[in-house]
């Protein structure tokens, strides 16, 4: 039996409270290299909080998170260095409005990785090409559609060559006709072997592309498994109810 490689993300016993409300109640999540893990669940289930803990945008109250062998919650860890290895894409794109698409991608290349202007510009151009926006590099975010903005945001993250990409509802703010373009880019990333953790309601995409689906409710991971199992024969009553709800739409 081949030895399984150590997971890229290994989160154990994550707790997060906002005031009196426990949003995560001891959640474990482990993600292997080249794996695409989908996190689904009703709103308020803690799935976005879990994702945001994985690059410490949210500080867990308890637990441990190893990314690429580095303990994120260790106060000695240089969080800025680890974050280079973890790309994140947000629901609201969050492009810098005062910079062109190319400058958006170049910023961290120059200031975090310390690349020269010419090299950063070159890498940015390639990243934007990869998401199909080679023609729009000199446009400002306000001159781009939502779908194009989200693809620039993906380019901004992948240009740093992260070991893992986190997607926080990447298509939820998009008009329906723009969703396809973003999902195509994600599909290509997947084919190129990118490790991805996706919080999303795109169930068709999850069924087609995910290796594993995690169902969360009330701050707990209720079940996980291959998409066929979670969508076909969910074990848990809450999961069944959720899938029924989603399928009706």
């Amino acid at each position: 039996m081949p030895t399984t490689p150590p997971p890229i993300i290994d989160a154990r016993g994550l707790w997060k409270r906002f005031g009196n409300l426990a949003v995560l109640k001891g959640v474990d999540l482990s993600v292997a290299e080249r794996e695409l893990v989908f996190i689904i669940g009703p709103s308020g289930s803690g799935k976005s909080t879990l994702l945001r803990c994985l690059n410490r945008l949210e500080e867990p109250d308890d637990g441990s998170i190893q990314v690429d062998g580095i303990e994120l919650l260790d106060p000695k860890t240089d969080i800025n260095a680890v974050r280079q290895r973890i790309g994140m894409v947000f629901q609201s794109f969050n492009l810098y409005p005062h910079m062109t698409a190319r400058q958006n991608v170049m910023l961290a290349l120059r200031k975090v990785l310390g690349k020269g202007k010419a090299e950063a510009s070159e890498i940015a151009a390639r990243a934007l090409d990869r998401v199909g926006l080679g023609e729009r590099m000199e446009h400002y975010p306000a001159q781009l559609s939502g779908g194009q903005q989200q693809r620039v945001a993906i380019a901004r993250a992948i240009a740093l060559e992260p070991r893992v990409m986190l997607f926080d509802e990447p298509t939820s703010a998009l008009d329906p006709e723009l969703v396809g373009g973003v999902l195509n880019v994600m599909r290509e990333l997947r084919q190129d072997g990118m490790t991805m953790v996706v919080v999303s309601h795109e169930m068709a995409f999850a069924k087609a592309a995910a290796d594993r689906v995690v169902f969360m409710a009330d701050g707990e991971k209720l079940e996980e498994g291959p998409p066929a199992q979670i969508f076909g024969e969910p074990q848990h009553e809450r999961t069944r109810a959720f899938i029924r709800q989603i399928d009706r739409h």
């Binding site: 800025n80 974050r83 200031k111």
Partner: protein, 226 residues
């Protein structure tokens, strides 16, 4: 002398104006110098305080808010008089120029800090998160992502406030600064003719109309490209 002629003699007496033009011109120079020092120091200190405040150190922020509210609440003339007549009692002698400069700098600092702070907090949280998630540090994010956006929205209120406070340089005349108003008032006493004040008013217009126009230009220049 008819009413109109008497009006012209009192307020537009060219002979008086010509005689005291050098004096008022000197006051003009002093006002420009004073204004420049106030604008540079006030805006820089205000920005420094706003940046400090963004670190979110609670005790420090209480101090900043106290200082800012103090100098926003006190009338500038009160601060000038307090510094000019009060500091010597503490063994520190300040010139009228220094007292005026320091007072208006502190007032501009206080108002500018509030405006910058409003600008910083108006930048969506997602901008911080996006920048930090790529590995940028807090200060890099503030400097490269947040401040450029914050400054753009602060330009109109900042320009207005800067002009309003810079005009307060006229208060220096109370503590013997021979800026435009002080010089014009001296000229008026010497000549016993208010035309010198007209000259002062013209000097203010020559100084501030370009400043107002510049403010307008800056606002259009820094509007986002759409």
């Amino acid at each position: 002398m008819g009413g109109f002629e008497s009006f012209l003699f009192s307020f537009f007496n060219l002979k008086v104006m010509a005689t005291y033009l050098p004096l008022v011109a000197k006051g003009f120079g002093l006002t420009v110098l004073l204004a420049l020092l106030i604008v540079l120091c006030g805006l820089a200190l205000g920005l420094a305080l706003a940046v400090l405040r963004s670190f979110g150190v609670r005790v420090l922020n209480w101090g900043i808010i106290f200082v800012v509210d103090l100098f926003r609440a006190l009338p500038p003339l009160v601060i000038i008089v307090l510094l000019f007549f009060g500091l010597p009692a503490a063994g520190i002698t300040v010139s009228g120029f220094a007292a005026t400069w320091l007072s208006l700098t502190l007032v501009l600092m206080a108002f500018a800090e509030e405006i910058y702070w409003a600008g910083i907090t108006a930048v969506p949280k997602g901008q911080w998160e996006a920048a930090r998630s790529t590995g940028l540090t807090f200060l890099q994010t503030l400097r490269l992502v947040v401040l450029p956006q914050a400054l753009r929205i602060t330009i109109p209120p900042l320009t207005n406030r800067t002009i309003a406070i810079t005009k307060g340089t006229a208060l220096g005349s109370v503590v013997g600064v021979a800026e435009i108003l002080g010089a014009s008032q001296s000229a008026m006493s010497f000549s016993a003719n208010p035309s010198a004040l007209t000259l002062g008013a013209i000097a203010y217009l020559i100084l501030f109309i370009p400043v107002v126009a510049f403010g307008r230009w800056v606002e259009t220049r820094f509007a986002w490209k759409r």
